[in-house]
Symmetry: C3
Subunit: 219 residues, 3 copies
Amino acid sequence: MSVTPFVIPLWLDLTAVAVGAIQGAMFSARMKDRRIDLLGIAIIGVVVGLGGGLLRDLLINQLPAAMASNWYLPVATAFALIGMALVRLFDKLNPLIIGLDAVTIGLFAAIGVTKALAYGVPEVPAAFVGVLSAVGGSILRDMMLNLPIALMHVGSLYAVAAGVGCTLLVIMASSGVQITLAGIICVLVVTVIRLLAVRFGWSLPEQRAIASWPRWRRA
Amino acid sequence: MSVTPFVIPLWLDLTAVAVGAIQGAMFSARMKDRRIDLLGIAIIGVVVGLGGGLLRDLLINQLPAAMASNWYLPVATAFALIGMALVRLFDKLNPLIIGLDAVTIGLFAAIGVTKALAYGVPEVPAAFVGVLSAVGGSILRDMMLNLPIALMHVGSLYAVAAGVGCTLLVIMASSGVQITLAGIICVLVVTVIRLLAVRFGWSLPEQRAIASWPRWRRA
Amino acid sequence: MSVTPFVIPLWLDLTAVAVGAIQGAMFSARMKDRRIDLLGIAIIGVVVGLGGGLLRDLLINQLPAAMASNWYLPVATAFALIGMALVRLFDKLNPLIIGLDAVTIGLFAAIGVTKALAYGVPEVPAAFVGVLSAVGGSILRDMMLNLPIALMHVGSLYAVAAGVGCTLLVIMASSGVQITLAGIICVLVVTVIRLLAVRFGWSLPEQRAIASWPRWRRA
């Protein structure tokens, strides 16, 4: 299967990075009990904005995109600082941020899957690369802030949304669906699942709940 | 020195991954005080099963094995879920799991050393790659679960067993010993040291104990 | 822009690694409340000595220097053990260690920037690679010891010193300044800023201080 990456314009890619950086900075700026200085907030913003793409390119053994262009780092840094400075304003715009973030996860997922396929990675690991592109920034953020990784605790189906979208994209790409169309469908699916999960408070069954589910234990 | 990797059949490699995934899932399923959902347990299983090989391939700058085949990720995920579902059964089989795990460490160590040598890495770093292949999964697990890294605290000689086996393997490979034979000896040595360490409760001298060892301080 | 790396003699590079390893071991040896064994201290020493270079080479997708030579790992391990054994002696030499460490940060920064430029990384990410080379060891140390990352909390301008030096080096390299001269200036600038920061207790404005700085909020 030969797949060309789902190419998105640079400005759209940088918008996704900027949204991630704003989110990361807002997240760390809210940790009032810790003494994080300006540099720390900028670092977290950069990590959330660029971390997913970095993990993606490490996994597929390619030069990270952020290392191949002069644009990514300044954009991530600038929007991290903006996010910190305007944290009160952005708090009021929270629904907008959540919406943009859902689209951003979808974009990172679609770019990750198609880039992996384009470099010859088989279907299953390609879908994994897509999921890690989407959620890697928040994993790195939690590890650097010394927090429990949000993703692994009862949460709002972040990774599952990305997983469904990436699986769908791999199936479509293998079935010969035109890659731009497949990518757009992936972005839409991830966005909708994520927004529905936020709206209805969906979460995965918790481990303890299952452990006390008698029929399942007997199986 | 030209070394062909210590090739083991795919089913044996996947068995090692499966044992790691079961162990990782059992470990995180026991953390009752934390709210880890199904996804979190699956992630830890995948990390323990595939983490060592991933760090190995990042260090030697090659496409990770798990990214080059459709088999690794599903096997790791499936056995992580099995490990979680059957945690009570596996608890009863604990001696068997410890035995399999000791062999698994040996296999990862032998594969790591010979793969590194095969890609032109010199002897000393090749032995290091072998050790990291063996223990990398548990390091990543502890970092992701926000725990102190077990390896660095007074423990049961996990890394030392791998270190002795990897050093021996590098010496044998440099001396022209046939690589399959050298690999098997490495696996045996690691397994035996690890099992003896568990049996007799061996551990490295603790830092404070040494600090209060007067003759040593005078040296 | 074609840049040859700022080549320093192997003994000087290894000296920088040794200083890092001593510092890392001293740092972890002082954590008396934790039960860290000899292996743990050696690991932290190796991580601080080699971590920056490792992150640098991962970012620019090259085989890590420590994997390409038999010298780095033994030097880092030996000096980590020496640092642990002689922690009292080195405590008395603290000003010397701080001075050597400042030079070491400068060296890692200069090597990181020029190596990145030499492999075709553009100016902005090349400066970033230089900063990460300088501070990466201490970030990895804090993540492995499960500590808040010192760099992100109100501290002593570690990363800013490296940032100024790396930016300057990139500008000089782009302006055609001879690379050895540019590298030496970078090392000097980083060293001087770092030592002045230690001497006068400089730190970045804290997040909370800024949040309560009325004029800035109005801007």
